[in-house]
């Protein structure tokens, strides 16, 4: 999985400009919306424990890349493909801003 992920990450950050743009969007994201959307995630993802990775504190830009990779099915997990599948970019960014603000 991590092999797939680093390949995905390598391809996703194509230019410095795109990166700044994303950082900017994350800074402006609606944390309240992120927290609301996160309600869907914490049924499975909790702070610690086996079986499903904990996602609090993942760095926001990495978070966005991972979520987009599930959405495009470049990362392989049926549940996560479905969960990411209906999130638009703005929603993913709000989630990234929210989860990255939590301590892991």
């Amino acid at each position: 999985m991590f092999g797939a992920m680093s390949a995905v990450m390598f391809g996703a950050i194509s230019s410095a400009a795109a990166q700044t743009d994303l950082a900017d969007q994350i800074a402006k994201a609606d944390l309240g919306y992120g927290e609301y959307l996160a309600g869907e995630c914490v049924t499975c993802h909790r702070k610690s424990g086996a079986g499903i990775p904990q996602i609090n504190g993942i760095e926001a830009e990495t978070f966005v890349i991972i979520m987009k990779a599930y959405r495009s099915k470049d990362l392989d997990n049926k549940v996560m493909q479905m969960m990411a599948g209906r999130l638009d970019d703005e929603q993913i960014i709000s989630l990234a801003a929210y989860f990255s603000s939590l301590s892991n």
Binding site: G32, Y33, Y36, L37, G39, E40, V42, T43, C44, H45, R46, K47, G49, A50, G51, I52, K78, V79, Q81, M82, M83, G85, R86
Partner: protein
């Protein structure tokens, strides 16, 4: 004034004009929400209402039991994959961490006009909004001969508690080479794959301890959830042990007798050494008493989970008519968050976001052989509609099946901490 999220959803609720009609709001008091039922739907709703309103709502949870034993994973307990204690949870986190007023009593009736709940003990609670998540009640009379008296020897194990222990004990003490009869319920019922996961877990136990024993499944339905995956799993792990018979084969179930342990169908009489009989189901009785049911279940408005009969009562989980969403703990937890968001918006003016629902049901067939089915949903105007769905495939690798099982452990820890922490 209720602020309208940029997704434009807040507009649906008519905002503050409605809010001011609430008696406690008119006097500037903290609005009161009473939640009946501290299970998958109710515990989640109470927790999100209290946590997210940060003191702006007065939340009371009425739950009869002091300890909630999850039905989810009760089959894994029967199979020996979990200790009984590990599926029990208390209300300490809700009371202490979330400052919810937890009342361990039985709610007897609801007066919708006066907005009060009457407790069986004689106490009374008033509310601005009421959330009902009472789960199911069993329709004992749906099977001739079945009754609360019969459930000692023919346990249903379909509501939380000691029934699961009885089933495990019956399997462990069954005579060598004996017959276990499983009778799944007719649709609709809580946890569509549940009866077949139970069959798998009993087979697992028998394979270890009583390998010449047999399991007969007398199903009132022609087909069932994840049927192909289960039957393939049974052939692989428990060849020759499980015989599934639908109405085509048994002709229809006529009656059960817990004294003779006989189950009579149209075409045959089956003698069981041990049995689990799950009758038909309906919404928990407080939903009936509150007058929000139409037939056996409570119809709701998808975007808010508010009852179609009373706008101040929201119905969650198994008791509600959630159309394409199955009656599961995951569904109830998901619906609770939608309702909590809508209720907070109405009572405190907080932002109301687009409602979204999801469900995944995992089942364990044998050691490290897990399967899953899931979907996400949106609120249509009349029904909760499917957006996207998936299901495990036949012939998946052992690795995928093991990961799927491990995910279910993560989910169990996730949902129970989302309900109770």
């Amino acid at each position: 004034m209720t602020s309208i999220s940029r997704r434009g959803f807040g507009g649906l609720f008519g905002a503050s004009a409605l809010g001011l009609a609430m008696p406690s709001l008119a006097f500037g008091a903290v609005p009161k929400v009473v939640v009946i039922g501290g299970g998958a739907g109710g515990a989640t709703a109470a927790r999100y209402l209290a946590k997210d309103s940060k003191g702006a709502l007065d939340v009371t949870l009425v739950e009869a039991s002091k300890r909630y034993y999850t039905c989810f994973y009760s089959n894994l307990y029967i199979g020996g994959f979990r200790k009984y204690g590990s599926i029990g949870h208390n209300y300490y986190g809700l009371a202490v961490n979330n400052r919810i007023n937890v009342v361990h009593e039985w709610a007897a009736s609801v007066d919708g006009a006066a907005r009060t709940v009457n407790l069986a003990s004689g106490g009374k609670l008033s509310y601005d909004k009421l959330v009902l998540s009472p789960g199911i009640a069993l329709k004992y009379d749906s099977i001739a001969g079945y009754s609360p008296q019969a459930q000692g020897r023919m346990p249903h194990g379909w509501t939380s508690g000691t029934q699961a222990q009885q089933i495990r004990n019956q399997v462990l003490t069954m005579k060598k080479g004996g017959t276990f009869v499983m009778m799944p319920p007719p649709n609709p019922y809580r946890c569509p794959p549940g009866p077949y996961e139970r069959v798998s877990m009993i087979a697992h136990l028998l394979k270890e301890r009583n390998p010449t024993a047999k399991i007969i499944v007398l199903d009132p339905k022609e087909k069932f959830s994840k049927m192909g995956l289960f039957t393939a799993g049974w052939e692989k792990h428990y060849p020759g042990m499980i015989e599934w018979l639908g109405p085509d084969s048994h002709g229809g179930i006529k009656s059960v007798n817990h004294e003779t342990m006989e189950i009579v169908t149209d075409l045959d009489t089956f003698k069981a050494d041990a049995a689990s009989v799950v009758p038909a189901q309906r919404a928990g009785s407080i939903a009936m008493a509150a007058g929000v049911t139409d037939g056996d279940w409570a119809p709701i408005i998808p975007a808010t989970m508010a009852s179609k009969a009373d706008p101040n009562i929201h119905v969650l989980g198994d008791a509600s008519v959630a159309s394409s969403m199955p009656k599961s703990g995951f569904s109830a937890n998901s619906q609770a968050k939608v309702a909590a968001n809508a209720i907070r918006g109405e009572l405190t003016g907080s932002r109301v976001y687009d409602p979204r629902f999801a469900n995944t049901c995992w089942s364990l067939i044998a050691t490290n052989d897990g399967i899953k089915v899931g979907a996400n949903y949106k609120a249509g105007s009349e029904k909760i509609d499917v957006v996207d769905k998936f299901v495990s495939q036949g012939g998946e690798s052992a690795d995928v099946r093991k990961t799927t099982y491990e995910e279910s452990i993560g989910w169990y820890n996730g949902i129970t901490s989302d309900m109770f922490s």
